[in-house]
């Protein structure tokens, strides 16, 4: 065997190594596509009277992050990484987001702020069955600031979540002495408004979703059936469904805000 065949084998080995040992860069461990439109979940808060504990707001943010990441339509940015300097002054992000969020809610037309200090926004009329889809513009006096913020922060969409109402019904009924049916259980119902804001044009897409989950035990005379689930698990199940719904709904509405 000649020397040349060794060299060719060696060359072949090197080329094989080139394909086998893929370069792993520290920045690119995860499949994240930077070319997609940038979106940040700016605020998850309750502007209503019945609020959940703060833990559930954090959890809802994570559930949404997971679902939006899985949909592969957005590149998610953490709001903590946004440090915008607008005309030399640093913006107080929490206040700014709160202002935007309230404006988006109030322009929706169904609500009004009753007390600015306590952040309670009451219904002006009763809610219809989650079918109020609207597109409107943010208030003109915030618009220039919002445009500058959009340019400085490199964000194309801002998402605001208002977990406005939570109802937990405890069911416990004794039907009658004749039939002796007994029913006990828990029903969790959560009402969420969400607003997608395009900082470039100032357009807002607002929609809402209501869903519930029930766990109960029915005790008739001969049959006793059902299940008992902890309220924490029930709330998580409802929130997960809603996060799924919101992620799906937002995907189709990107084009309409331009």
């Amino acid at each position: 065997m000649g020397t040349s065949s060794y060299i060719y084998k060696f060359l072949g080995l090197l080329i094989a190594l080139f394909f086998y040992v893929q370069p792993v860069f520290a920045e690119g461990l995860f499949k994240v596509n930077d070319a997609l439109p940038h979106l940040a979940i700016c605020e998850v808060k309750c502007y209503g009277e019945k609020a959940l504990r703060q833990e559930f707001f954090f959890q809802f943010e994570d559930l949404l992050t997971e679902q939006l990441q899985a949909s592969k339509k957005f590149r998610l940015l953490d709001k903590q990484s946004i440090l915008p300097n607008i005309n030399g002054t640093e913006l107080k992000l929490d206040e700014f987001f709160s202002l935007l969020h309230k404006d988006a809610i109030v322009h929706d037309g169904d609500f009004k702020i009753t007390d600015v200090n306590t952040d309670v926004i009451r219904h002006m009329r009763n809610h219809n069955n989650g079918e109020k889809i609207k597109k409107y513009r943010i208030c003109p006096h915030i618009l220039p600031k919002l445009k500058e913020f959009g340019k400085a922060s490199d964000l194309e969409y801002l998402l605001f979540i208002n977990l406005k109402n939570t109802d937990i019904d405890i069911k416990g009924q004794y039907q009658s002495s004749y039939s002796r049916q007994y029913l006990k259980g828990t029903k969790v119902k959560i009402d969420v408004d969400y607003f997608l804001v395009n900082p470039e044009t100032g357009y807002v897409y607002g929609n809402s979703v209501i869903s519930d989950k029930t766990a109960q035990v029915i005790d008739a005379i001969l049959i006793k059936t059902g299940k008992v689930i902890s309220p924490q698990k029930l709330i998580l199940m409802v929130l997960e469904n809603q996060a799924k719904h919101i992620a799906q709904d937002i995907d189709g509405k990107i084009g309409s805000l331009k």
Partner: protein, 219 residues
């Protein structure tokens, strides 16, 4: 084969090695990931004194789970580091201003990714189906299930941002079924849920979340 062509080929090989050099250099440096801590978002549960036990089990399951030994990154335990405990203040954030106080912690550590785990639910689910047939017999089916939910958050180091979140669900159940007809009775199973069930459910949840995380990585 003469010496001239041999030298040519040698030069070719050297050139190729030179071209490959940056890739081989990067291939050796694998990104690092550290388990910064385990937190809780448990508000209400129907199992008594479960929280501390769940912490320990989740911590153990993560450090002994599918993340260890993956060829794409190196996984470290950060729970013994005193400063890492401070990081809890960052992850449990309420406002953007509060976070800035803790940002220097990330500069001191040179990890590429920070993993933080939250226990979001540990609870028991009871389900049952009882059918009675008076004077003849009865049929019972009962199950007690321990359900565990966790959430993994991945943070990147250079500008401290949350990159991704993954949720995992796990459960472990004990079932019992009982049939009686006249005086004859058959009973199969054991209804009491134990710590083993909790550990099984935790491992199930951690595996579920880690599997999602590993799937979202580049090959």
């Amino acid at each position: 084969m003469n010496a001239k062509s041999f030298i040519k080929k040698l030069i070719g090989v050297l050139l190729l090695q030179f071209l490959l050099l940056p890739y081989t250099a990067f291939a050796e440096k694998r990104p690092t990931m550290v388990l910064a801590g385990v937190g809780s978002r448990l508000v209400v549960t129907n199992i008594r004194n479960v929280e501390q036990k769940a912490y320990d089990l989740v911590n153990e399951a993560l450090l002994d789970g599918p993340l260890v030994g993956d060829y794409r990154f190196d996984f470290y335990d950060g729970s013994n580091d005193v400063r890492m405990n401070l990081v809890d203040g960052v992850f449990n954030r309420t406002s953007t201003e509060a976070v800035n106080k803790y940002l220097h912690i990330f500069d001191k550590h040179k990890y590429d990714y920070y993993l933080y785990c939250y226990i979001t639910n540990v609870s028991r689910k009871d389900s049952q189906l009882d059918i009675l047939y008076p004077k003849k017999g009865e049929l019972h089916g009962k199950a007690k299930t321990i359900e565990v939910d966790i959430t993994l958050q991945v943070y990147t180091n250079p500008n401290y941002r949350k990159l991704l979140a993954f949720t995992g669900k796990g459960n472990s159940s004990n079932k019992v079924s009982k049939v009686r007809y006249g005086d004859n009775t058959i009973e199969i199973g054991d209804l009491a849920v134990s710590e083993t069930n909790l550990a099984d459910a935790v491992v199930d949840a951690v595996d579920n979340a880690c599997e999602k995380m590993l799937k979202s990585m580049r090959d």
